[in-house]
Symmetry: C2
Subunit: 203 residues, 2 copies
């Protein structure tokens, strides 16, 4: 399995470089567990979902603690055909998920969100889950939406995506559960995610 | 068919509101052909691929003509199950695509990029194409990558996405061709796209 993300942080301030560089320290606890490569458009992070999503969560929370409006875009992917197997991406939740019916996966996903740490940073987040390469992909999507609606982070449905609102801990845990527990364990699953904080036009 | 996008413009400047509002005029020629709804995270644009992608292209080009670093994220979607049919989204290229073999679709896509208008704005763009709900989705992805590599806009392959570079006219035309000519005409196809201009760390 190959698991990773392309991550971009967008501080809406002329001091955007400072916000980015000062937030990057939040990644330090995860650097030994992740492969990280940066270019001018995005940063590749490869590794298991625990450090991968904790890392992007803490990066965004660090930027969101500063006063400026900031957003982050993430392209998450697991099981992309053509990517090499990477032992550092091993994830027991994925193996477990394959053996459980949809109802049980929804229940465990909700529990994981309930158990998520509270970071004390309120954020908005919207994302789309894509289950590739199987005809019944919408069953998994609808199951995921059922989980999200009762997760405590659901804000509203939008065209093409689902909008969450809440603490960074709970919202990113909801994303991780969506990513891991829906779609076949060995399948190709991706997420297109946008997080936002401190927006002057918060609705 | 229901076709649309969630679009977000991110100017990396403290004057981000001014950059956004001054760029929005670029959408005016397309407003009568698109349904447009804005919230604090993204703007929904619904309509046929001609005004839809011309509109987001011109919006981004207008922002990129200003000196500040700016990025745009787009979640493009066609044929999402559960969305109502919308006559305003009708697209003859899609109908035609269904009847043509992959080689011919690649050739027509290349020609469309060659015929694209030159806007005089150089941009970087990376995107992922997702063909949902069919087991052979990677054949369409690989066909699309073959088209892109010889399109004149290809910059390099990245994990999870393909990086383009060039004039806004050609690069957005490449995205439109990828969106329309790969994956079944009636199928569910999405794109996760990031555009960037004036980056201080251009590689």
């Amino acid at each position: 399995m190959f698991i990773g993300a392309q991550v971009s942080l967008y501080p809406m301030t002329s001091g955007f470089v400072d916000v980015i560089t000062s937030s990057l320290g939040a990644l330090d606890p995860y650097r030994s567990d992740l492969r990280i490569e940066t270019d001018d458009v995005s940063t590749l992070m490869v590794g298991a979902p625990a450090p991968l999503i904790d890392g992007m969560r803490d990066l965004f929370a660090a930027a969101a603690r500063q006063p400026e409006h900031v957003t982050m875009h993430v392209t998450l992917s697991r099981g992309c055909p053509g990517e090499p197997d990477d032992p550092s991406c091993r994830c027991d939740v994925l193996t477990e998920a394959q053996s459980l019916p949809l109802d049980e996966r929804i229940a465990r996903a909700r529990q994981a969100v309930a158990d998520a740490p509270v970071l004390g940073v309120g954020i908005d987040l919207q994302f789309s889950l894509y289950v590739l390469g199987q005809d019944r992909h919408m069953d998994e999507i609808y199951g995921c939406i059922e989980f999200l609606k009762d997760s405590g982070t659901f804000f509203r449905s939008k065209n093409f995506c689902t909008r969450l609102r809440g603490d960074a801990g709970a919202t990113f845990e909801a994303v991780r559960q969506a990513f891991l527990r829906f779609g076949p364990a060995e399948g190709h699953v991706t997420i297109d995610l946008t997080a936002s904080a401190n927006s002057p036009s918060l609705s």
